[in-house]
Symmetry: C2
Subunit: 121 residues, 2 copies
Amino acid sequence: MATPDAPTQQLAQAALSSSMKVESRDGDVTGSVYSFLVHKDSGRVTHAVLSLGGFLGVGKSYYPLPFELLQFDPVRDRYVVTVDKRMLEGGPSWASNAPVFDQAYADRVASYYGVRAERLA
Amino acid sequence: MATPDAPTQQLAQAALSSSMKVESRDGDVTGSVYSFLVHKDSGRVTHAVLSLGGFLGVGKSYYPLPFELLQFDPVRDRYVVTVDKRMLEGGPSWASNAPVFDQAYADRVASYYGVRAERLA
């Protein structure tokens, strides 16, 4: 299956039972939240893995986004991301082979989006 | 399917991609973590839903446990729960019909385990 795996001992991947939409500030629906990466020790979601693109589930890619870049809209029950679609699409992602989501990968994601790196250990 | 559903607008249920074992302090393996309930706004895991009992997946029941009662053991990559198996088994649970996990249900879980109630709103 073209799904990302639980990446390290520090993070657990948990797939949303009911998918949640994600859109950019301007209202473009950019995709949905496929899963959360949860720091096992603290119980904090460090990243949301977005599912973007594809057709009928084929050709989708997965984009890990630092959770702090998502804002929950309780009225419409969806997340609004504070980066635009083009930046998202150029960001770290995978299609079928999930990377090892270690400190180096987390640092790369943080660096791309210009946020503080998560300390996973 | 005998799985719990995403319970309210405030909480998202996310099923672990790789199951994690849970045991009690005395080393009895009591089950596994089936899912996390994640507070959508804050990104905090409020509850772990444990899967206990059953045989080959039949007859399992689901037990929501306040996350603060789980301690992560990084050496053995599992959670240790600070309540004993008997208390767990007597706690709020469901088999096939997941409850609406609203404030009243969260309060009931908190009250049973004697922890501070989560404010979901």
